[in-house]
């Protein structure tokens, strides 16, 4: 897959089909890859990587990149393409300035998953079919690729590559996913237990805003929390009330637009399972308004922007006299 992606990137630049390529650049190790824009084919061949640790969702970068001169090629995994479509529905990406190459995916790996397995000082990883050969400062070990997967990939919802100009690998299908199991476990708790769970998690927050800044649904030009004129500008939680509310408000704000890409949880330096808040909203919306997948297509009406008389909360127009 690595060689096909890199050859494709180089040839798109050489043919002049694109002026820039959005891909990944290698770091000191195999896993510390950084999203980067390449402008020359030689540089692509020398520095670009595409390995199982290229987990970052590149869609959000297209907001800025598609406003620049020339066309940019981008490599998107199935889950990234949902964000790509959703951002287009929100008129945030100039589609004609983007050449989208869909790359089929069998789940991405995460260095934190390797560390969870007790591997310390990981210096190299080699992919061999369904295994990873891991070299550390202390040992060499072969583990199954499955064990190294990013937690979000264990509950992958779809391998469909949406709205791509070309594909590397086959088109995929929706997958049976158990992604709501953790939400159900939280729902089964007593309110006190649930409150204790979220207090434990949210009190770890350091307000670094990584979740917000990486989130493709959080694309406001100026976030209310960064705006000195908003009256709610905040750099740290002044109280536990604020600590709780920041994430809950953010989850409300992206409700109906969150595609469940899982970037919020991936980037959280404090390992807070933030995606569970969003998933709760997705599950509720599915139950109240029928199944809906944000970014799943261009036509479906978002449940938060639609209204019917059989709305479960019809009180909006019946003035509280539901059923009359």
């Amino acid at each position: 897959m690595q060689s096909r992606v890199i050859e494709k990137a180089a040839s798109l630049l050489e043919s002049g089909a694109c002026t820039r390529v959005l891909g990944w650049k290698a770091g000191a190790f195999f896993y510390d890859v950084t999203p980067a824009v390449f402008t020359c084919a030689q540089e692509v061949r020398e520095q670009m990587v595409f390995n199982p640790f290229c987990g970052a969702n590149l869609s959000k970068y297209l907001i800025a990149e598609s406003r620049k001169e020339g066309r940019i090629a981008v490599f998107l995994k199935p889950c990234d393409t949902f964000s790509f479509v959703q951002l287009q529905k929100e008129h945030r990406i100039a589609r004609d300035k983007v050449w989208a190459v869909g790359v089929q995916c069998r789940g991405m790996c995460d260095i934190d998953s390797l560390k969870e397995l007790g591997l310390k000082g990981v210096t190299a990883v080699e992919e061999a079919e369904d295994d990873l050969r891991v070299t550390t400062l202390y040992q060499e070990k072969t583990i199954s690729r499955k064990e190294a997967l990013s937690p979000r990939c264990h509950t992958c919802k779809s391998r469909k590559l949406l709205d791509c100009d070309e594909l590397i690998g086959d088109q995929g299908q929706d997958l049976p996913s158990s992604r709501f199991a953790q939400v159900e476990a939280l729902e089964a708790m007593t309110p006190e237990e649930r409150f204790a769970f979220w207090r434990g998690e949210l009190s770890k927050c350091i307000r670094c805003n990584a979740c917000r800044n990486v989130c493709p649904a959080c694309s406001c030009e100026k976030c209310v929390f960064d705006n000195p004129n908003s009256g709610v500008q905040n750099k740290a939680a002044a109280s536990s009330f604020e600590e709780n509310l920041f994430h809950i408000i953010r989850a409300f704000h992206v409700a109906g637009r969150c595609t469940d890409c899982g970037e919020c949880t991936r980037v959280c330096p404090q390992h807070i399972p933030l995606h569970l808040l969003n998933r709760k909203f997705i599950k509720d919306m599915n139950e109240f308004y029928g199944p809906y997948q944000a970014g799943g297509d261009f036509d479906a009406k978002p449940p938060m922007l639609a209204f019917t008389l059989d709305d479960p909360e019809a009180s909006i127009i019946t003035n509280g006299r539901d059923g009359q």
Binding site: F29, T34, G121, E201, I206, R207, N213, D226, N227, Q270
Partner: protein, 333 residues
């Protein structure tokens, strides 16, 4: 040198905590963090905490004063600086060095009284490293992870904890503990530190003289390109020291507090005329120029980094000080 059996570490913690507040690196909600010891709290198996030890001296949020409004009267109650002694156990050599860097800023005249009080009240007990992570590069910054400083230095070998007091405060702490025995620690094996992939980073090029050359380097544009502008690197960094002072409207007055700030944020050091760092490129450059050039320029050549590797582990897009330093020296990114 004194010794204590590791199998009864809990009893050592209890003995310390019987006299003053004790913080140890422990897993809380799955995250390693310096937490207040209470019976049953065990040390984390992680090499280092997610947030650094600077939290104990420069917390993310601290109240400075409260203003209460009643009718036409405003009453002001300033916050009190810490007056209780405490012990912080298990500080690694990198974090211990970070205290020197923070001291050079917060204890310079006029000293920051809140920080100063915590430093004075604290007894720092360090712990030598034996199993580094691949992201460790403290040795590149002249730090010996196997000989950490602090008031007391500790080593763990086999089934024994070895303790050595380095200061009067450290002597006093050890003297207050029962059942310490005399002993000599065995020589530690340092071969794994020679295998660290980042052990040969050279920071000597970043002398103050070339300040404008580094500032105007063409690499900033490219390096900052994919930066998300979040504050992860600054907030997990043991040497980042910038803060903001803000007012929280309590509904019947004002709670004035200070909190960590990040040069990565768009409203960092916002002034009446607006911001002097309008794009992420300038913000990103500020952070690394501060660590690599400005701080050493102002503080006798001391680099503002301790090689703990937290930014390597936590940056959502894996951009970090190692990549920046290398790109600057090569002149290309």
């Amino acid at each position: 040198m004194k010794t204590w059996k590791l199998s009864t570490l809990d009893a050592l913690f209890a003995a310390i905590a019987g006299k003053q507040t004790l913080y140890i690196p422990a897993d809380v909600a799955g995250q390693p963090v310096f937490a207040r010891w209470e019976p049953g709290l065990a040390m984390t198996r992680a090499l280092n905490t997610g947030r650094s030890a600077k939290d104990l001296f420069f917390p993310q949020v601290e109240d400075l004063a409260r203003f209460r409004v009643a009718g036409k009267t405003v009453s002001v109650s300033p916050a009190q600086a810490l007056q209780e002694p405490f012990v912080i156990f298990g500080v690694r050599a990198c974090d211990c060095r970070s205290f020197d860097i923070l001291d050079s800023v917060f204890l310079a005249e006029p000293a920051d009284t809140f920080y100063q009080a915590r430093r004075e009240q604290a007894t720092v007990v360090t712990l030598a490293c034996s199993q580094p992570e691949e992201t460790c590069f403290c040795t590149s910054l002249g730090i010996d992870p196997q000989a950490p400083g602090g008031d007391v230095s500790c080593w763990m070998a086999e089934d024994t904890l070895y303790l050595q007091a380095n200061t009067e405060k450290g002597e006093a702490l050890l003297a207050s503990l029962p059942r310490l025995e005399d002993g000599e620690k065995p020589d530690a094996d340092s071969s794994v530190f020679d295998k660290l992939p980042l052990k040969d980073l050279d920071f000597s090029a970043f002398s103050g003289k070339a300040l404008m050359d580094w500032f105007n380097s063409p690499v900033w544009e490219r390096l900052s390109q994919s930066c998300l502008g979040c504050g992860s690197c600054t907030f997990v960094c043991p040497t980042c020291q910038c803060y903001d002072v803000r007012d929280f409207d309590t509904g019947h007055g004002v709670q004035r507090y200070r909190c960590w700030d990040s040069c990565m944020y768009s409203d960092f050091t916002m002034m009446a005329h607006g911001t002097n760092r309008p794009t992420q490129k300038e913000r990103f450059r500020q952070r690394f120029m501060h660590k690599l050039v400005y701080h050493p320029n102002n503080h006798g050549g001391q680099i503002g980094c301790v090689g703990c590797g937290r930014c390597l582990q936590k940056c959502p897009i894996s951009m970090n000080i190692v990549k920046v330093a290398n790109a600057l020296k090569e002149g290309k990114a």
